[in-house]
């Protein structure tokens, strides 16, 4: 399991103290390259595939890739996270597309606490 980072698309979240992916990876797997200043993964093997970085990347520079030992080449799963919902586009290896949308956040309620 790992993620692929498109260096052409990555702008290292200019203006933020840390790119979103680097800031949020639960495994500390992402960092900024000292030479090109772009995000990279310390060790591709160590990704848990939670897709946090994929969801957060504003330039859609990051894609999830299943290890070949588990999965055939070609299918893709692309999330687009909005403020209160997330949309997923799944493309199987034959090119068939399926879309899903799910609510992620509802308005806060006044707490009725004892």
């Amino acid at each position: 399991m790992t993620v692929l980072i498109d260096k052409k698309k990555c702008n290292s979240c200019k203006g933020l103290p840390e790119p979103r992916c680097v800031q949020n990876c639960p495994g500390d797997l992402l960092s900024l390259g000292s030479e090109d200043g772009k995000a990279f993964i310390w060790d591709a093997r160590d990704c848990w595939d939670c897709m946090t970085c994929v969801k957060l990347c504003p330039r859609r520079a990051i894609t999830t890739k299943l290890p070949y030992v588990l999965a055939d080449y070609k299918a893709t799963l692309v999330p687009i996270a909005g403020k209160t919902s997330i949309r997923w586009t799944l493309t199987d290896k034959e090119g068939q597309v399926e879309q899903f949308e799910s609510v992620t956040l509802q308005p806060k309620k006044k707490e009725a606490r004892p």
């Binding site: 800031q23 500390d28 093997r45 897709m51 399926e98």
Partner: protein
């Protein structure tokens, strides 16, 4: 040089070592009232509860990652697996949990968290968590104790609640040891993952909520897929070792959690079995759970038997085993995928990549490598009902706390709340500890930064990943991993013990080339100590209490007369020995311990 502790807003930074030379490390000394180690499921709720109870209290979360997406909830969740629906009670819940854990749990702990669960779920719903409803507007049931949710964003929601409540959050600091002063816990040390500093956070009370431990055993997948595991590979047992090294009492490390999961992709099966009514079948198409475990309830048997069953089928030549999903309609398959996207998106990609349609073919299942955790099983700190550990000033909540299985998200929340309440109540009797011991601080810095120093001074040694693999191989082969059908006997465990002792002697050769490897070095050191405790617990329990989780070939029967008790341990840092002790079981809820209902 004197280390002066200052208020958290006025951080002080000093340097120990030779003239800021590369091999030196600097110290960040901070001061707070309540320190929460691990800003996960339990930790975030603990922070909110503490600030609500005592608004002036300084509450600080020390988090290894970033609390917005750290821990088990990184990818989201699709159900709350412990909820008391109408018609059930905390007592009926405890009865069920006792049955599920084959008659041995801390009923006082299970009861106390059951009493909090519904309140805490409603609270999180109020923060914005979408909970699915039925036509009457009740929470949508998914099984006897479960509620369906749209929980993709669950972690950011509770993290925001912790911040809104006014907790200070220090992200990217991994706790490495407790700060001990005059026989009590006085805060914790941590490694700054980004700045490679030693953090010394002094606190009046400390809650540990770092989750359980994965990666102790060889995982199902290896190589490029080695982290394709169910439990978070970044929960490495640090919370256990903080306590072990300080002499805390631990319980039930021998009750390992082996999860029944979708083979290869290791996705949870509750979504299929509970959410979509899929029974287990073997290669011959037989519903073996119904046939061979009828007395226990067939597909409704206790969780350990639901993994023991299929593992036996495979061992005896009737595998592969499946969850039979062939009754699903195309619409149900769509709903199934949507449910997984909220929690474990990679299975949806895996099906698309391999051309798998669960309505046309049954879903193959397998057991996972054993995890050590107190949320599904009961490995962890030995605590009282207030979630106080045996170390004064230290509380435990969530997967790191022992004795009370079947917590899942909501039970972890409940424990966070209970621990915070106890800490706040106890605070008047917990004075601000004196300044940390400079020698202790320096020793901890030397210990943490040794792998970096080795790289700078020697330049060769053992990579953390190498030691991890070695450890996992030993545990797999001799302490009941996947390759041995989770089985063990005294002789094999003795070999494991011997190898682990030898590995301990190799720790001094660990080498870190970069800051990330320095973190990994701490992780493997933690895993090694957890593994040693696991082996001692497994050696001690001379019965088979939880087939699958703990299968002793040399003691194949359950033995209530001799073993209806808890196996506990205390690590002696001086001698490096894990000392075992036994604690009695107490029944608090009436009824047959082996029945799911009265």
């Amino acid at each position: 040089m004197d280390i002066i502790l200052t208020d958290i807003v006025k951080k002080s930074s000093t340097t120990l070592g030779r003239d800021m030379a590369e091999e030196s490390f600097s110290i960040e000394a901070l001061d707070t009232d309540l320190l929460i180690i691990g800003g996960g499921t339990a930790g975030c709720l603990a922070a909110v509860e503490a600030r609500e109870r005592a608004p002036g209290l300084r509450v600080t979360i020390m988090e290894k990652a970033h609390i917005d997406r750290s821990g088990c909830l990184s990818a989201g969740m699709n159900a709350i697996n412990a909820y008391i629906h109408p018609g059930e009670t905390p007592e009926s819940f405890t009865r069920y949990v006792r049955f599920d854990a084959l008659g041995l749990v801390r009923e006082d702990l299970v009861l106390s968290q059951a009493r909090e669960i519904n309140d805490v779920v409603r609270r999180v719903e109020g923060w914005g968590l979408p909970i699915k409803k039925d036509e009457q507007g009740n929470y949508l049931r998914r099984g006897r104790w479960n509620v369906s949710i749209n929980g993709e964003y669950l972690k950011p929601i509770i993290a925001q609640a912790a911040r809104d409540a006014g907790a200070q959050v220090i992200n990217r600091v991994a706790a490495t040891n407790l700060m001990m002063k005059d026989g009590r816990v006085a805060g914790a040390y941590g490694l700054g993952v980004r700045d490679s500093k030693l953090y010394a956070i002094r606190a009046r009370a400390t809650i540990v909520a770092t989750g359980g431990a994965s990666g102790i055993y060889k995982p199902n997948n290896d190589g490029s897929a080695h982290h394709k595991m169910w439990y978070s590979p970044f929960n490495t047992g640090a919370g256990y070792t903080l306590g072990l090294r300080a002499g805390a009492e631990m319980t039930s490390f021998e009750m390992r959690f082996i999860a029944l999961r979708v083979k290869d992709i290791i996705a949870p099966t509750g979504t299929l079995a509970l959410g979509f009514g899929a029974p287990q079948v073997n290669a011959k198409g037989e519903r073996f759970m119904a046939q061979r475990f009828a007395d226990w309830g067939g597909d409704g048997s206790p969780t350990p038997l639901r993994v023991y069953g299929p593992v036996q089928e495979v061992k005896e030549g009737r595998g592969p085993c499946y969850l039979d999903t062939r009754h699903l309609t195309p619409e149900q398959v769509r709903n199934l995928k949507a449910a997984y996207l909220d929690m474990y998106p990679s299975i949806v990609l895996y099906w698309a990549a391999n051309g798998i349609d669960p309505s046309k073919e049954a879903v193959e299942i397998s057991g996972t490598e054993p995890y050590i955790m107190g949320g599904h099983c009961q490995a962890g700190y030995w605590i009282d009902v207030g979630r106080r550990t045996t170390l004064p000033g230290l509380y435990a909540a969530g997967d790191v706390a022992g004795g009370a299985p079947y917590k899942f998200i909501s039970g972890c929340w409940a424990e966070g709340v209970i621990a915070a309440r106890s800490a706040v109540n106890d605070l008047p009797s917990l004075a601000t500890p004196p300044n940390p011991d400079k020698a202790q601080m320096e020793a901890e810095g030397e210990r943490i930064f040794a792998p970096r120093r080795r790289f700078q001074e020697v330049g060769e040694g053992v990579a953390p990943s190498e030691m991890e693999e070695r450890l996992q191989k030993v545990m797999d082969e001799y302490a009941g991993g996947v390759s041995t059908f989770y089985e063990m006997n005294a002789e094999r465990l003795e070999v494991a013990r011997h190898h682990l002792q030898r590995l301990e002697g190799q720790v001094k050769y660990l080498m870190a080339r970069n800051p990330h490897q320095l973190l990994q070095a701490q992780e493997v050191i933690d895993r090694l100590l957890v593994a040693r405790a696991v082996v001692e617990h497994l050696v001690h329990r001379k019965e088979t209490r939880w087939p699958g989780y703990q299968t002793r070939l040399d003691y194949p029967q359950r033995d209530d007369e001799r073993w209806l008790k808890f196996v506990n341990s205390i690590y002696d840092g001086e001698t490096g020995e894990v000392r075992i002790l036994e604690r009695p079981y107490q029944q608090f809820v009436s009824g047959d311990r082996y029945k799911p209902k009265e």
